[in-house]
């Protein structure tokens, strides 16, 4: 509700007050018969054509819910008159008083304040200002100057976000001379709120997009009023083939929070950038000894599950279409490639066995219990307490690194020996993928990992060794994948310190 600056007395007329701001000075008008004077300022009463004043209308259409008010508009005419004594000395030849007349001020876009007082007012402070318009256009006849006004609206011409990556004008903010071509013209994102959800188990992420600003360095930019660094070590790369993000981290990362934005570099000296990937299983085996599982164990919660009864097994398979060039080099060690089922027994203790099968090796038929698994993870024993177990793949049976194509072919199976088992979810976890190689990756490091795997009694050895020779082509050094797409980051959009009032 407006605070009226003057209380009307009985029989006092409402008086319209108009103030046109010419930037360096004002013109004052009123709709009185003659001029009125408020605090020494004369408001001319003869210039405004009384019949020309339109209704000042503004509506907010809330029939569809929350919204913004419409931009109001107003029309007013000023008469051709000789006695006006304001900044424009006469309105007799008004077409010569404003541009386009030579050296005269432009009237278009000038601000028009509209207010009211009641008859008897003497003070400027008694004006209650109601509207602020600006002059959108004007025309003139032989007798009057017609002003077309619309409500002053800063929003109309403002595009947000304001800054785009460019190499034309050094403005200290969005000027990047070595950005990749695809970055030029892209807006620097502005974030509001929090973007730092990272639920690896369910491949559930809420992270914010960034823009690459350098062709060769791994530099990305985003902005907010202040960007607050939630996690300085990670960026995220989207893998379309798996519909998920791979978490990237570099040993020599650097990050800067500043009012001009937030800049992160994953690699400051060319060292390795690593990736962590969590892939949800999306397919299963059904029929025979295999319990057909349902989507309930592949969704993003722990409230639904699939039941595996005694003596049966379940088999899970990835359905991603990733290839090795999407990822990089998958590590050797058994604890870096891990099958992670979350499960529990319905009651008591249930024992079982974890195995993996590759349908392309030795003609294994995973649908027959008698067939030999190509690898054993481990036996397990589980109770009614829900757990997320880890069963490492280690190096593959051909003494090579795993490729993602290999992993996508494999069935991960749980054989249930007794009791009933509930499988709540499962995923394949691959950590420390060597994503971006500059100089530091060597195969020798990997062989050290290989040795360690064989020293670890927790991982069955025999089966893997026996089928090494039967496996396919050698998996050697991969085509390392440069970070060439948009990255995603964990950040929060903060206020400036003491930014208001």
């Amino acid at each position: 509700m407006l605070t009226m600056n003057m209380t009307p007395e009985e029989d006092r007329e409402l008086v319209l007050i108009v103030r046109i701001n010419l930037d360096t000075e004002y013109m004052y008008f009123s709709d009185t018969v003659d001029q009125i004077t408020l605090s020494g300022t004369a408001f001319d009463g003869k210039i405004i054509s009384k019949d020309s004043i339109s209704e000042a209308t503004k509506d907010v259409d809330v029939t569809s819910g929350g919204t913004m008010g419409q931009v109001g508009n107003w029309k007013l005419s000023l008469a051709r008159y000789t006695t006006y004594t304001g900044p424009i000395t006469t309105f007799n030849d008004f077409f010569n008083d404003f541009a386009p007349a030579t050296s005269k001020p432009l009237l278009t876009s000038k601000t028009v304040d509209v207010g009211v007082v009641w008859g008897g007012a003497v003070d400027l402070a008694e004006i209650t200002w109601l509207y602020q318009f600006y002059i959108e256009t004007y025309d003139w006849t032989t007798s009057q100057l017609n002003l077309g006004c619309i409500e002053y609206d800063e929003l109309v011409a403002t595009q947000l976000p304001y800054y785009v990556i460019q190499d034309e004008i050094d403005n200290g903010i969005s000027y990047f001379t070595n950005a990749p071509e695809e970055s030029y013209g892209q807006t620097i994102p502005i974030i509001y709120g929090e973007f730092y959800t990272e639920n690896l188990e369910y491949s559930d992420y809420l992270v914010s997009p960034t823009i690459r600003t350098h062709k060769t360095d791994n530099n990305f930019i985003m902005s907010s009023h202040i960007c607050f660094l939630v996690d300085s070590t990670y960026l995220f790369k989207y893998l379309d083939g798996a519909k998920t993000l791979m978490r990237l981290n570099g040993a020599t990362y650097s990050a800067t929070n500043a009012r001009r934005g937030y800049i992160i570099s994953l690699s400051t000296n060319g060292s390795v950038i690593y990736g962590d990937l969590f892939l949800q299983f999306g397919a299963s085996i059904n029929g025979g000894l295999f319990t057909g599982i349902t989507d309930e164990c592949m969704d993003k919660d722990s409230t639904t599950y699939s039941v595996v009864t005694a003596g049966t097994r379940i088999g899970l398979k990835l359905i991603s279409t990733l290839n090795d060039s999407d990822l990089g080099m998958i590590p050797f060690t058994w604890d870096k490639v891990v099958f992670r089922p979350r499960f529990r027994s319905v009651s008591g203790t249930v024992t079982g066995n974890m195995q993996w099968y590759n349908p392309y090796i030795n003609n294994n038929d995973v649908n027959k219990l008698s067939e030999t698994a190509v690898g054993n993870f481990a036996a397990f024993s589980i109770t009614t307490t829900e757990t997320l177990e880890a069963f490492g793949f280690g190096i593959d049976f051909a003494s090579q690194r795993w490729s993602i194509e290999d992993l996508q072919n494999i069935y991960c199976c749980l054989t249930n020996m007794d009791g009933n088992l509930r499988l709540i979810n499962a995923h394949l976890e691959i950590t420390d993928i060597e994503v971006y190689d500059q100089t530091a990756i060597t195969l020798g490091m990997a062989w050290e990992s290989f040795d360690r795997r064989y020293l670890d009694a927790a991982v069955p050895q025999t089966t893997a060794r026996s089928i090494m020779a039967n496996y396919g082509a050698e998996i050697s050094r991969k085509n390392f994948n440069k970070i060439n797409s948009a990255m995603y980051a964990k950040v929060k959009g903060y206020m400036y310190d003491n930014w208001i009032d």
Partner: protein
């Protein structure tokens, strides 16, 4: 100093009112791409390299000058239009000609009270110290500093709610309804307290469409009153006056009433939210219809859906993709507001009044209408109507309102 109610220094920009205010102050009311001509003590000149737009003295007072090169910011305390020199609140160190700068918060006219009523967190809480009908009395409070008219009052002992009608003093509030007696506990907070938005603006849009979307997804309206932006929540709230006497023409009152169209009645609501910027999909869904809801919080709204279907004999689906809502609780709050807004027809009143008694009312104000010649029983002088349209006819000395 920082705003004390809605915003804390360095706080997250996530409440709807905070998002809107930040966009207006920091992104819209700006003058960008400036380069310093000279620095003399606390006076910074922008006359040649990138002249400031305004030649009006004091035009930039209260704005903030951000030095991008130095990553520092100072408030402008004075401006000389002729020389285009800004005086800063302190003498900056190391600022020099050629530094890149921009101005924000230029001519920032924000109706801060209205933003606080929408977005404030818990501004006060305690235990009442005496009983007075329709009042909340707490002898150890500082209500005059912290509380704004329109904020929600929750009686946390009885779990009842009302609104602040007036702030009588530091220790007493008048409430819209009588809900609290001595010895009961209470909290006072904004209408969209605990709503959280999150979005990354990744492509250019005009700022009006961005703000319209935030308003829609927080069920608020943003209107300009003279030169100030004012934010008002849709829905129930405190009333600021009563319309009693319309103008007449030919002896007939200039009042009409109608109902919102049936096309705006919905029976089945779905909200897609949780936009994933990488997958480019909405990952979450909240829904409510007469048979089911996605969350027990929405269960009471099933009867509203059923009411609409039975009484209006329509089956309309409302579905919306939210770009700003990531938070599950906010999604439920928003859907609750939407269902309550759309499950029944609303009365739309056109009212013509005299300026003397009506000019002070403006968009977003809620009023009672006490005029049983036109307003139905049960609504007359009871239901709150929000002003959504106002038209001033100066020559005929009339003010026309549209209320819903």
């Amino acid at each position: 100093m920082a705003r004390s109610n809605t915003y804390n220094a360095d706080g997250l920009i996530e409440n709807p009112s905070g998002v809107i205010e930040s966009i207006i102050r920091d992104e819209i009311l700006t003058e960008r791409d400036l380069k310093i001509d000279s620095v003399v003590s606390d006076v910074i000149e922008f006359a040649t390299l990138s002249p400031l737009n305004s030649a009006v003295n004091d035009f930039y007072n209260g704005a903030y000058l951000v030095n991008v090169t130095k990553s520092e910011r100072y408030e402008v305390t004075d401006y000389v239009g002729l020389t285009k020199k800004l005086t800063l609140s302190s003498i900056p160190t190391g600022w020099a000609a050629g530094n890149f700068c921009y101005l924000k918060n230029v001519q920032a006219n924000i109706d801060t009270d209205s933003f606080d009523v929408v977005g404030a967190g818990i501004v006060d809480s305690g235990t009442t110290t005496s009983t007075s009908a329709g009042k909340l009395v707490d002898s150890i409070q500082n209500f005059s500093t912290t509380v704004k008219v329109g904020m929600i009052v929750k009686n946390t002992t009885d779990t009842t709610y009302s609104y602040v009608k007036t702030v009588d003093s530091n220790t007493q509030l008048t409430l819209e309804t009588d809900i609290i007696i001595s010895g009961e506990t209470y909290q006072i907070y904004g209408k969209r307290y605990s709503w959280k938005l999150a979005r990354s603006l990744t492509s250019q849009q005009d700022s009006r469409s961005i703000l319209e979307q935030v308003c829609f997804e927080s069920h608020c309206i943003l209107v300009k009153s003279y030169n100030k932006y004012k934010l008002v929540d849709l829905g129930d709230g405190n009333t600021v006056g009563t319309f009693t006497t319309p103008m007449k023409e030919g002896g007939k009152p200039l009042v009409t009433a109608s109902l919102t169209p049936l096309s705006q009645i919905f029976t089945d609501y779905s909200l897609n939210y949780g936009y994933d910027y990488a997958k480019k999909i909405y990952t979450k869904k909240a829904f409510v219809n007469k048979n089911a809801t996605s969350d027990s919080y929405l269960n009471t709204l099933k009867t509203n859906c059923s009411y609409a279907e039975v009484n209006y004999k329509v089956k309309n689906k409302w579905e919306y993709n939210s770009d700003w809502i990531q938070d599950d609780t906010t999604a439920l709050y928003f859907l609750e507001q939407i269902v309550n807004w759309f499950y029944q027809q609303r009365i739309v009143v056109n009212w013509m009044g005299s300026p003397k008694t009506h000019l002070q009312y403006e968009h977003g104000d809620r009023v009672l209408i006490n005029y049983d010649f036109m307003i139905p029983t049960g609504k007359n002088n009871t239901a709150s109507f929000m002003i959504i349209g106002k038209s001033l006819d100066i020559s005929k000395k009339k003010v026309r309102f549209t209320l819903i």
